[in-house]
């Protein structure tokens, strides 16, 4: 790789890459996001090469492996350019049919395209699929549309041109002013204005300053940052260098989870390329600015996503939070002024610096402009990664982009913001997904995990699940979090076992509020949120468990048993075939019966029944 020292180098790389791609009639973008990798895209990729050769198409068609295209639940997927036809659920066996039809017979292989669950119609063009139609891609731009492993491909989408512009024609203060004017708020969960933070970093006095990228994406149900790193590692690097230039840091760290081996590999490969191209580790674009970047891998501690704990961990210590103040910009990593930004925040920076704050504030709401990346998961049809303007109503996200709930089940609640967040109920589906509006509903924007839940999810058990998580991940440094979360967990556990006491809900609220007020770090202060939020909206479910010893969702095994309604059972035998305990008996076309003594409350029959004849019921009522 030759060194990139000026605009002409960038232009040359860009045109060379575009020329090379222009030799091909088509490009096949094959998703190699972590999701598609786990459903076998590498086999599809190998087979694709074989098939293209056998069909004599290899000269006409270029296969490009990209980061996450977004629709993870239908993976492996591929997008064919320039016609933008999207094929889903690929298998090595299906490729021959698709390629023959598409390229040799010029007919779209509709059967392998996206099928709208509501209209049952096939939608071959990616831009017409509701999942993509409503998205605006800024942080995710390039993710799923370029070769993640190629510096040239990133330069071809004008990557590193922003860095050139900033270094050659903007002062650090001008960069900060642009970010300030964009009102970009931290996307990691805190929501603190990034420009203000940078200004503090710039103004801090010190011979050495650090920029740290927080890629310790630990919230269960969140995989936004992972997608950005795996799809466009160079964009993250560019964002980090811009931040470093703005605050005056000569060294940076990316702190990334050990659970993300693919992201670590792709980022370190991209960093090697950038270093070889003279974009890291030496003076950039013949300016006086010099910067280098290093990866630090976590070791499985959720609390290290908290900024002071993260710094402790980079320093090689136990990841226990520090008392604030001093704030990181005063005395952070190794005691030096440090600015810590989340991956998604930094991925927005190149766009803002390149296009100006005005272009960015076109999207979103006045108080929170721009876009937010969400990870849709749970009982939702189109699980995957989306980026939408801030302020989009939850209803649109769940039902238009997300395609509604699996099996057409009724929507009960969405859990937003993971273990620090809360739930949004069906009554609040029209709430705009904005920092302020979500806070008023007792939730937070958080880092972007969005889990849809149906009537089959017990809210008490969900609260218990999150409390189990934070209790386990509590570092134990402060009493409020160490003991408080344990006590809350114990109470929740006994409620789900039907042993709840009358004053348990009041006690949960009391303990929760004390933890919120007195815990040392963000993990502790937000830990009670899921419990307080479910109490606020689903008090009736708590009461049903405590007073009536009944789990309305049929989730809590200790107090639930299943029954078949003889008047609606059609005797299809499906439930009996699914029952692992052989507890269901009955003749074909006759109503079936569950033996309560054998039933292990595993819900297999409930999930299997297609006509809703199986019901959860109170264990006490049947077995005493």
């Amino acid at each position: 790789m030759t060194k990139i020292t000026g605009l002409s180098d960038l232009t040359q790389i860009k045109s060379a890459y575009l020329d090379e791609m222009g030799q091909y009639e088509h490009q096949i973008l094959l998703c190699a996001g972590a999701g598609c990798i786990s459903c076998g895209c590498s086999k599809v990729s190998q087979q694709l090469t074989v098939e293209l050769q056998e069909l004599g198409l290899e000269q006409r068609i270029k296969v490009v492996e990209t980061g996450c295209i977004g629709l993870c639940s239908l993976g492996p997927v591929m997008l064919i350019l320039p016609e933008r036809i999207f094929y889903v659920n690929l298998t090595p066996e299906s490729l021959r049919t698709i390629l023959t039809s598409h390229f040799l017979n010029s007919t779209i292989a509709e059967k392998w395209c996206y099928r709208d669950p509501q209209t049952k119609k096939y939608i071959p063009t990616i831009d017409e699929i509701p999942f993509y139609k409503h998205q605006v891609r800024i942080a995710l731009e390039g993710c799923g549309s370029i070769d993640y492993s190629s510096l040239e491909a990133y330069v071809a989408m004008d990557g590193y041109a922003t860095l050139y512009k900033a270094l050659t024609s903007m002062t650090p203060q001008q960069v900060i002013d642009e970010v300030k004017a964009s009102t970009l708020r931290g996307r990691g969960g805190g929501g603190f204005p990034a420009g203000v933070k940078w200004q503090a970093g710039r103004d801090a006095v010190g011979d050495q300053k650090y920029i740290v990228c927080n890629a310790d994406e630990g919230d269960p149900g969140a995989f936004m940052d992972r997608s950005i790193i795996e799809g466009t590692p160079h964009k993250l690097i560019e964002g980090i260098i811009l931040a470093a230039y703005a605050i005056g840091a000569s060294h940076g760290y990316v702190y990334i989870r050990a659970e993300y081996p693919i992201a670590v590999n792709r980022l370190s490969a991209a960093m090697d390329q950038a270093r070889a191209a003279g974009l890291l580790g030496c003076k950039l674009f013949d300016s006086e600015f010099e910067f280098d970047l290093e990866i630090r891998i976590g070791a499985g501690a959720f609390v290290c996503g908290e900024e002071t704990a993260l710094m402790e961990s980079i320093e090689g210590h136990r990841g226990e939070p520090r008392q604030k103040p001093p704030l990181p910009f005063q005395a952070g990593l190794f005691g030096k002024p440090t600015i810590i930004n989340n991956v998604e925040t930094l991925a927005n920076i190149p766009y803002i610096v390149q296009n100006g704050a005005k272009a960015y504030t076109k999207y979103g709401t006045p108080s929170a402009p721009g876009t937010k990346v969400f990870a849709l998961a749970g009982d939702i049809v189109n699980a995957g990664i989306i980026e939408v303007p801030i302020g989009m109503p939850l209803r649109k996200i769940i039902f238009e982009i997300g395609g509604g709930l699996i099996g057409g089940k009724a929507f009960k609640a969405a859990q937003v913001g993971g273990p620090s967040g809360g739930c949004i109920t069906a009554a609040d589906l029209d709430v705009p997904m904005d920092y302020m509006d979500l806070m008023l509903k007792g939730s937070i924007m958080g880092s972007g995990g969005l889990i849809a839940m149906s009537r089959d999810t017990c809210m008490v058990d969900t609260a218990r699940f999150f409390m189990d998580f934070v209790q386990d991940e509590s570092c134990g440094k402060c009493v409020a979090c160490r003991i408080g979360t344990k006590r809350m967990l114990e109470i929740l556990e006994r409620i789900t076992r039907g042993k709840g006491r009358e004053d348990d809900v009041d006690r949960l609220i009391e303990v929760g509020n004390v933890i919120k007020d007195t815990a040392m770090c963000g993990l502790g202060q937000t830990a009670p949120n899921p419990v307080l939020s479910t109490i606020r909206y689903f008090r009736d479910e708590y009461d049903a468990h405590i007073v009536d010893h009944r789990c309305p969702a049929g989730n809590c095994k200790a107090i639930t048993i299943f029954e078949i309604d003889p008047s609606s059972c059609i005797g299809c035998t499906l439930c009996a075939r699914h029952c692992p305990a052989f507890a269901i008996t009955g003749e074909k076309k006759e109503p079936h019966v569950i033996d309560p003594k054998l039933c292990i409350s595993c819900r297999a029959c409930y999930d299997a029944c297609r006509i809703g004849a199986v019901h959860p019921t109170k264990r006490e009522a049947i077995l005493g």
Binding site: G35, R318, T462
Partner: protein, 166 residues
Amino acid sequence: MSLDNLTCGCNHGDTEEEKYARIAQVIDAYKDKEGNLIMILHAAQEIYGYLPLELQKFIALRMGIPLSKVYGVVGFYSFFSTEERGKHTIHICMGTACYVRGASKLVEAFEDRLYVKVGGVTADKKFTLDVARCIGACGLAPAIMVDDDVYQQVTPASVGSIVSNY
């Protein structure tokens, strides 16, 4: 020798001494990096398989830091193990999405299949069964990881075939 070669886990036939020697080389290579302890422990675990007290003593001595410091860090992070692990590690994801889609049923299925509880090692030392915090494959829940391979939309019925891959 590059660091990649040092930490490559494929030399399972190495003797105790050879492993210790490689760990010593890693420590020397990272010597000048600030805050290097966690990186060294990652590499040491990769080479040795786990971090028994003897090895922790060796690392502390070679780095010139108190054993209490090494022990404290090892104990804090869930990725570090002080007990011998199976040849393969099965991580069942217990993230929210997987949990909602039935991850706890998978735990039972793996426990039944391997005759081992979560956290334990199978009698033939082939598998360590563990649960993981969200592995970020939420779009494909419930998901599990065997070493670095991710399996998506796993059902209790598919547990047998996954185990037989190893």
